[in-house]
């Protein structure tokens, strides 16, 4: 079954390097998102796998069949790769009805009229748009157009489905709805999904694997929760999670046990889960997820002042100042905090990530307590 493999894929546009030496394996029936800020090469990567863009160098195999190789001059055209592509702007043909849009690809494969009719009706029903069959795309709302585009892409039954920010043009409510719809389709169609997005929430909630990219380089390729729990570097740590992780600069004050000095008054012992190597005086960045900063009155690891409090019912996001270091904390429950009040902070729960300041790389995980 379709397992996609990219080996040393590089894409240059003139002098600009869009994707640099990318290696990744997309397992059969997985739901992989390519995540990153705009211009990071994620769309280019997707288009190269689909065959819409030609890599400058490298090898791509789909289902162990080489579909692209710069060395051997192999470049299988997109339609021979048995893939479907869902475009950002849907790319519905405005001069064809919904029915015709879906049927066009099948007609092209010389299906019989009855077979096409059966298949199109099946898809219309599956996406709950049967009543729009006779309409033109311009007569549909954004969400309906999106469904038509999905139906059109699924029509030929591709084993791999590529999606390029398909939900970015929808409003918040529809986006929620389409997300669960996509998860359902992934299960029902039994195929591999590769999905491009810049929305970390979308990547977190939908996918089985996240590939985080920046400036053409792959930063981390792991299941979403692993990216969340154990980010490979400060970039991925910062990109995933809302509200953002707190990245606090500090230095290693002492090697055994490891003591981190964050401010003149805040010094914390970092108890690593595995053996890690740090040296005294090394500049580090400590990653503190907002939900791992507890606000307490007693047994505090540090003191801070409340700068703002944003209660939303289920949770409250508070901005804090700890010796002029800005921190965000999430407190669950419908509590409000008084601005300007002094509170104690506790880092007793959760696992924290330590990064090297210079390289940004993850040094190791551990727990914290007051030195």
């Amino acid at each position: 079954m379709p397992r996609i493999e990219l080996k040393h894929i590089t894409k240059k546009f003139g002098k600009f390097v869009a994707v640099d030496d990318l290696n990744m394996v997309i397992e059969d029936r997985s739901f992989v998102t390519l995540l990153g800020p705009s211009g990071c090469g994620k769309t280019t990567t997707l288009r190269m796998i689909a065959g819409l863009e030609t890599p400058t160098e490298g090898i791509i195999t789909i289902n162990d069949k080489v579909v692209f190789s710069s060395e051997d001059g192999i470049d299988v055209p997109p339609d021979k790769r048995d893939v479907g592509f869902l475009f950002q702007n849907y790319a519905l043909w405005p001069h064809m009805t919904v029915y015709k849009n879906i049927a066009f690809g099948l007609e092209n494969l010389k299906w019989s009229k009855e077979a096409i009719k059966t298949r199109v009706e099946e898809l219309l029903a599956m996406l709950k748009i049967s009543e729009f069959a006779g309409r033109y795309p311009s007569e549909l709302s954004g969400g309906q157009q999106q469904r038509v585009a999905i139906a059109r892409t699924l029509a030929t039954g591709p084993k791999v489905l590529f999606m390029d920010e398909p939900l970015s043009n929808l409003d918040a409510k529809l986006r929620m709805e389409m997300r669960s719809e996509l998860k359902r389709l992934h299960r029902e169609t039994d195929s591999t999904f590769v999905y491009v997005t810049h929305d970390q929430l979308e990547a977190m909630t939908l996918s089985s694997m996240v590939c985080l990219m920046k400036n053409g380089y792959m930063q981390q390729y792991a299941p979403p929760l692993e990216v969340y729990r154990k980010p490979a570097n400060t970039f991925t740590a910062d990109f995933v999670g809302s509200p953002n992780i707190n990245l606090v600069d500090g230095v290693v004050d002492q090697e055994k046990p490891i003591v981190l000095k964050l401010t003149n008054t805040v010094r914390l012992v970092f108890q690593p889960k595995t053996n890690i190597a740090v040296r005294q005086g090394q500049a580090i960045v400590l990653g503190l997820r907002p939900e791992h900063i507890a606000v307490t009155q007693m047994k505090a690891d540090a003191e801070a002042e409340v700068l703002s409090s944003l209660p939303s019912g289920m949770e409250t996001i508070i901005a804090l100042s700890m010796d002029d270091i800005r921190l965000h904390s999430v407190v669950f429950g419908d509590i409000d905090f008084e601005v300007g009040k002094s509170v104690g902070l506790s880092f007793g729960h959760g696992v924290f990530n330590l990064f090297d300041k210079e390289s940004g790389k993850n040094v190791g995980q551990g727990t914290l307590f007051r030195a």
């Binding site: 060395e71 051997d72 001059g73 997109p78 339609d79 893939v83 592509f85 475009f87 790319a91 690809g105």
Partner: protein, 600 residues
Amino acid sequence: MSAKSKLNQIKAFFKKPHNIILVVLLVVLGYLTLVPLLTIILDTVTVHSSEARFVKKPVGSLTLYHWTKMFASGITSQKTFYEPFVNTMVVAFLSCVLAIIIGGFFAWTVTRTNIRAKAFISTVFVFPYIMPAWTLAMAWLNFFRNSRIGGAPGLFTVFTGLETPNWFAYGLFPIVVVQGLHYAPFAYILIGGILRNMDANLEEAAMLLHANRMQIMMKVTLPIVRPALLSTFLLVFSSTMSAFAVPAFLGSPVRYQVLTTQMYRTLNGMNPGYGYIMALVMIVIGVGILMLNQWITGRRKSYTTITGKSSNISLFNLRKARTPLTVILITILMMIAILPLVSFAIESFIMAPGDYSFSNFTSEFWIGKGRADIANSEPGILRNPSIWLGLTNSLKLSIIISLIAGTVGMLSGYAIAKRRGSKLSTWVNNLTFFPYLMPSMAFGAIFLSMFAVRRGLIPAMYGSFWLLVIVGAVKYLPFASRSGINAMLQLSGEIEEAGTIMGVGWFKRMTRIIFPIQKTTFISGYLLPFISCMRELSLFILLVSPSTRILTTLLFQYNEKGWNQYANAINLMIVVIVVGFNLLINKLTGASIDKGIGNN
């Protein structure tokens, strides 16, 4: 990178249809536009057979004779170059200003006021541009010619008894008026497009800040459209500069020479070298104008571009002036679009020119068998085999050229837009636009000298119909490729890719997806070359042979011979065909010429 992967890259490059199109265009257009340019340059420093006597050097040898004669030989240079050059600039500048004032006023009135009969005004206002350029010139002569130059006086003199002065009937004044009116629709289309696409919020924001109409106009609207206005000015300027027919009709009776008429004389006469220098000068000015235009639009792009919909801008209320102004505009339109046609009809039925009494009317020039005492027994145009030949040739030529130019233009637009930003695409883009800058007559002359003899695989084509086809197709390619690029830029690449990924072949993608979606713009790309070709004179005038003559060259011949009635009748025929065809296509497909040139 290894040699093998380099080779593979080349193979991959040529697998893409748009790359093949670009490379083929680069080669073919390079040959058909750059080689002519080099030939022109070479011709300015070569001794031509007709000149061997004065130059005193063997034919074909190099000489600076033409350059010194043209630029540094006192009174000769004054008469052959400097005077026509100054005339050209004056004519081009003034007609341009006039065109922009008239076109701009109509555009503003139609888009920004509550004038009546908007649809009618915009349809009819484009007529003078669709009609051959000399239509208005002939009409001017029909009305205002005087007897001092010789020949019968025009309608105006006959009805009022006043003899028109020479300055009014011939030379600078009528040329400027006629060219100004001819190009006013061009300015109207461009400026109207800008006004229509300008974000009305900008004006409304000023209104909310208590600016009055005048302030809004002067402080907001004009500054915003100024770069586009300037660019319109430059485009019209380069067209008026290379116009031939109008100065030929209105200037020659009083020896008012411009570069193009001078070029016709020299290319057709003893000194082709002079003509090629003039052609070169015009090409250089044209390229300069184009670069200036690109600089202006490029630099100011940030705020001239289309931003919003101005669907619900509050229109300027003309109040009491509404009906009178509508009447005035329609009267003007009648005078410039309809009245000329009436005058052609009348003139073509007049036996003795200048006598408009009823007894003088005759159908001789339309259906007569030909009389020994008039025009060497030339039969009336409806039973005249040479007119029928010209008509068939004109139609055949225009249709073939429009099919070639339209299709190539569409493909080039497709390929250029697909590879936008790449060097190859930029080169081809400039190459497809270059013929626009070549003065038609010089272009014709060059093709004549290039293909009069066998060149490699291409047989000698002098007097051949296909020579006309090639010249026309290349010359009108810019119109079609502009529409092609416009059409493609409006279309997101994903639309085509959605077909690619389903295995829809390239040809089917073009015919079933891309063409149907942008049908009207593409058809406009076919329409413009057709219309331009039907009314083209200067491009073909040096190239036709008796068997390939077309309506426009026939008209010019009849006019030179002074057979006024035939000329008027032919002109009426051309106008009816062109306007009728335009309206027909417009009705059937929604395509129109303003879609083709509308958004440059």
